[in-house]
Symmetry: C2
Subunit: 323 residues, 2 copies
């Protein structure tokens, strides 16, 4: 097995070497731009680690599938940023702000097709299975984004619906990436299911952690503004539990905070309410539940522990133990 | 060979029987809606006629590919209508007007993925080739749409650039549909190229005819408002030739018409300018050139004339002889 950083370097090199046409510039410049905003490239790495886990004989052959996943992820960022009216992405202007909404719609479409071009570059015997997994994942991501937008206008969101949303919107992509790697390594359907479940549950745990870190994260380690979710009244796992548990007076207090202009005061009072109803513990326990589920799936895979080391290491790095 | 209307009925039935999830409604209702606005379904028919031409043994097997093409076409309509700020499509409200731009972006994305799901339902041995043709076509359609939008802000557009735009935006889809049918019927690459070229050139001729009919069509037969292109100052094949040929005074007159509020007067003067510079004849000749090219490609295909009858009939029906 090669080291994880070798795979990461291969992915970065492949993305840098990817050639997109020069014309029309408004179609391809935004694609070059968003792929150039250095993300962590976790998803394409998962394709390679999924293949590596099952001792894929030809790791070079996984690069197109890895690119497909990364292109898909960036397509979804371009379109989601339009819908969410986001001005910034990875600290730079979003495509629709830098160009226009029309440019963002169309270059996003083209990037999605480019993802399918990468699928088409895989070994022909593998293409049908890869395509099925990729399509299912892509459709669920669309569903997740729509459900997330629907939440904005819903008074109450329960935990089950919330988990279903983050599973579809963000986690199936991690599971799908790993499964595509497994397919390329000729893993059985049972093995594919286990590694897919590992990715999905890890993704859910990671997303729950993101909700928790937003409030309790160490500002020095956490990349975003602490309390950002509170300030924009985002329905996080913490908030939806608070809304269910709070007595009438506290629920009214929470509602009144929507109008609160003093950011520090808004964060402070919300955190006091979280503490009063113990929602941090609920969220922590839920995160642990999903990460445990993930580890169980990985353990159930019948390959040597040395083969699992890289994935286990990645999972441990994604899961923060102290906040 | 079954009759063309049998194929059309099979396509209509397949579209009606297609099942889309109920939830989330904002993702799938717009898909049901746009597919329900009865279009002519020419593109999926071309998939079947392309397969029929090469004596496909199992015509049932062409239905998923036909649906893929129809879904792709409708995806592009949803997104183009946002970009073009179109209020109506086939006489009904466009998706972004009936719901919202966000809904139109995301349901369009989902419909594109649905098209790829249909590709994945084709015979596994055919999927790699189908996917390559479909991807190339899809990317060119995106390019064509961007080039078309770029034209809006360009002073001069020459004939070569215009033909390249309509080729990409609308004609490659007809060629690609036929080629996908040919692939399903095990046609050779040479045969695939000939039927692709037939479709592309027929598409260009049809689009040029559309420009001509807009001005000279019989209002009783032509589905749209006669003079509609003139009223919105669209850069048609007629207008771009007029702009190249007109003397300075007439070019200024043409420019001044952009501000003209009287619709009849605007159409009248533009038509007089078209007549003065003979641009209708130029456009007619160009249309005949491309339809001749199309027929040449069809003739060059070594199958019995009886096999070609349906396609020839379709082409003759698309090409209007008297305006």
């Amino acid at each position: 097995m090669l080291t994880q950083s070798t795979y990461s370097n291969q992915i970065s090199a492949a993305i840098e070497q990817a050639q997109f046409p020069l014309n029309p510039p408004k179609l391809y410049d935004p694609i070059r731009y968003i792929l150039g905003l250095s993300g962590k490239r976790v998803r394409p790495l998962l394709v390679m680690l999924g293949a590596d886990l099952f001792a894929c004989a030809d790791m070079e052959s996984t690069i197109p599938a890895a690119l497909a996943v990364e292109y898909f992820h960036n397509f979804s960022l371009i379109h989601d940023d339009i819908m969410d009216e986001a001005p910034l992405r990875r600290g730079s202007m979003t495509v629709h702000k830098k160009w226009s909404e029309n440019v963002a719609i169309l270059s996003g479409d083209a990037l999605l097709v480019k993802a399918y071009e990468e699928i088409a570059r895989c070994a022909p015997t593998k293409i049908p299975a890869l395509l099925r997994v990729f399509n299912k994942m892509a459709l669920e991501v669309c569903e997740g984004q729509q459900i997330d937008m629907d939440f904005e206008t819903q008074e109450q969101v329960n935990q089950e619906a919330y988990i279903a949303m983050i599973r579809a919107k963000t986690s199936v992509l991690l599971g799908g990436a790993l499964q595509m790697g497994a397919i390329l390594a000729d893993a059985t359907s049972e093995e594919q299911k286990l590694i897919y479940d590992f990715g999905v549950n890890l993704g859910i745990a990671f997303q729950l952690q993101d909700d928790i870190l937003d409030v309790y994260g160490n500002p020095e380690n956490f990349g975003k503004q602490v309390g950002g979710d509170i300030l924009c009244d985002k329905k996080t796992i913490l908030r939806l539990h608070l809304q269910q548990l709070a007595n009438n007076a506290d629920r009214e207090l929470l509602s009144s905070l929507i109008e609160e202009k003093n950011a520090d005061r808004k964060i402070q009072i919300t955190k006091e309410l979280y503490a009063k109803y113990g929602v941090r513990e609920i969220a922590d326990n839920l995160k642990v539940h999903y990460s445990d589920e993930a580890y169980k799936s990985l353990e159930a895979i019948s390959v040597a522990d040395t083969q699992k080391a890289a994935l286990l290491n990645l999972a441990k790095n994604l899961m923060v133990r102290t906040y």
